[in-house]
Point group: D3
Chain length 134, copies 6
C-alpha cells in the first residue's frame, strides 16, 4: 500500500460570521475574520489517495483523472470565488477552513470513481501557518 | 552600503474592476479576477532598506522601528480587509497588486523617519507565482 | 474528526553534551554539535490538535487560545535563549531536539485547558532537513 | 516513541514506458512522461525512523549512520543517473516514483542495522506537487 | 516603473558533455553531470517584465499573453524533454543551465510582442541551490 | 553576462552586545538579541558571481571551486560555532548579521581566485523574515 498526494491551489475570499449568533459573539469568536467585508486567502490543498501499486503500470492512481475530478469539483467551485456569496454550501454554514475541508472532502467522495484507489485525506493550507486535515 | 529586507504578511480580498470601462472589457482584461463577488490572497511583502552599517551598533536599521511603521501603515490598513470596500485609495483605483504596491510604497515613504536609511524597494508576492516590485 | 495544525517559530542556541559521559564519547556521539561554545537554530514547531468541528462555530479550536498557550509555555521559555544555560529542564537533560520535543509536549499538556480539543502531536523542524515528531 | 525524519536530495532522469504494453497504451497511461528520450526530476526524499529516545544521549538515532546508509544505498545508486538505463531494478520495472519508492524502501531495509530504530516511512517528492509515501 | 515576475516550471533531462573536448576533460569539467546516460531536473523559471503601470487598468502586463508566450516558446519546447536529444539548439551547444537561460531569453525576445513591456530578466532555478539569471 | 548564485547553509549562535555601550543602551538597541547567554540561527547564504558564459564549456564558473572556497572560508569558520566566542573577527565587532555579511564577503574576496568570475553579491537569510545583502 502506498499513499500518493497531489497538491492544488485556489484563491477565494470569505467572511467568518454565524447569523445565528449575536454580533458581539461573532466578534469574539472570529476576531478580525469577522470583519464585515471579508478578506481572502491563497488556499493550497493536498488530496491523498491510498492503494496498491499496479504491477503492470507501476502507478497507484491515474493523476490525470484526479486532476479532472479536482478541477470539476474543487477548482471550478471555489477558485476566485467569494465563499459566502457564491458557494451554495456556505449559505447556511460558516465558511471556516474546517467547513471548507469537510465540503471538499464530500464533493470529492461524491464523484469519486468506484475503480479509483481510496481517498485517504484532504489537507488545506489556509495560510503558511494554519493547516487543516480531514 | 548594505540592503536589509524584512518580510511581512497580510490577507485581503479584492475584485479587479474598472468602473470607467464597459463590462465586456473588464471581463476581457481581468478574466476571473473580475468575478463580481471578489476573491482573495495571502499577500507577502518585503520592505528593503539600504544604507551603511553603523560602526558602533553593527546595524543598518532598527527593525523594531520598521515593524511599527509597517504595522501602522500597512498591516492595519490592509490586513483582513476587502481592498475595494475598505481602503480609501481603491475607491478610484483598481486594486491590482501593481496599484497595491504603489500605495504601500507611498504610505511608507509618507511616514518614513528622516533619520532612517533609505527605502529601497517594496516587493509583493500576490501568490507564489506572481511577484511585483517597485 | 479533524486535525488542525498551527506553526510557530523561535530561535535558540544549544550545546549537545552529556556530563555523564567522557569527552571522547560526547565527541563521537554529537560530533560538531558537541563544540564547547554551542551553536543555534531557527526552530519551527507545529502544534496539532484533533477534535470534532463545532457545528455552530465551524471551528475545531480557538486558535487565539492556542496562541496564548504556546506564547506562555513555549515562546517565552525558549525564544532567544541558550537552552543549556537558561532552561531549567536542560540542567540535567541534553538539549537535543528530541528532548526539546518531549519538553514542549509536556509543557503544553501541563497547561492544556480541559475543554480544548486533544493535543495530537508536536513537531519540530530543527533545520530544513531534520524533523522530530512526538 | 518519537519519529525522526531526515531529508535528502538527488537528481535523475527517467522514461515511463512498459515494454509489455502497446505503444498507444503507454502513451495513454503515461502521457508526456512516455516521451521516448525521457525527462528528469530533482527528487527529494524523507527517511523517517521511529523509536524511543535514548535517556542517556537524548537521541532516537545516530543521523551520521543514517546518512552513510542513505549515501550508499540511495544517493550513489540514483543520483545523476538515468533510472531506466543505469539502475538494475528498472530493467524490468517501470521507473515510476511509486516503484522508486518501493525500491528505496527495500534497499534501506536490506541494509538496515539491527540495532537501529525502526524504519517507519520513505517519502518522495517527485515535484513540489506530487508526493509518494510508503 | 515596476517589475512584474511570473514563475513557471518544467521538467527535463540533460547530459553535460562537449563533443569538442576529450573524455577526461569533460569528466573533469562536468563531474557527475557528464555521466553518459544523463540525469534531470525540475527547472523553475521566472520571467520578469518591467514597465509603467497602465493608469486605466492598473496593470503592467497582461499575464495571459505572457502565459501563452511562455507556453509556446518555453514549456512546449523544454517540458518533459531530453535537452540534448530533442532540442535543436543543443545539438551544438552543451545544455548547461547557463546556455538554457540564454536560449530561453532568446526564444522569448524573438516572439516578444512589440506592445508588451520590456523583458527585463529570465531566472532559472536548476535545483533549490543553483540559480542562473540573465 | 550572467549571474550564477549558489546557496549554502550553516548554524551558529551569537549574542548582540556592544562592550562600548552601557547595558541599558545595549538592551534598547538589541532587545531580546542582547540576552546574555545568546541564541542562534540556521543561516542560509547565497554567493552570486557574475561573468560571461564560456563558449566552450557553457559555464560561468566552476561550482566545485566555489564550493571548496566557501567550505574553507565560510562553513569551516562559522558552522556550529558561537560567533562571539570562536570567531576572531567578532572579538571587537558585534556579530550582527550585517557584520557577518561584511566578514563573509571579505573572507571570500580575500581568497578569490584571480581567474574566477567576479564576486557580485553575498546574501544572508538570518531567518525566513530577515535578509541581508552586500
Amino acid at each position: 500500500m502506498m499513499e500518493v498526494t497531489r497538491r492544488y491551489r485556489f484563491c477565494a475570499s470569505h467572511r467568518l460570521h454565524s447569523p445565528q449568533l449575536p454580533a458581539e459573539v461573532n466578534q469574539q469568536i472570529y476576531g478580525k475574520c469577522n470583519n464585515s467585508y471579508g478578506h481572502g486567502h491563497n488556499y493550497e490543498i493536498e488530496v491523498t489517495v491510498s492503494g496498491p501499486v499496479n504491477p503492470q503500470t507501476g502507478r497507484v492512481a491515474d493523476l490525470e483523472t484526479l486532476d479532472r475530478l479536482v478541477q470539476e469539483r474543487v477548482i471550478e467551485i471555489f477558485d476566485h470565488r467569494n465563499l459566502n456569496e457564491e458557494v451554495t454550501y456556505f449559505q447556511k454554514l460558516v465558511p471556516t477552513t474546517e467547513n471548507l475541508c469537510i465540503i471538499i472532502d464530500r464533493e470529492l467522495r461524491d464523484a469519486w470513481p468506484a475503480v479509483f484507489p481510496a481517498l485517504k485525506r484532504v489537507s488545506i493550507w489556509e495560510t503558511a501557518r494554519n493547516i487543516f486535515v480531514i
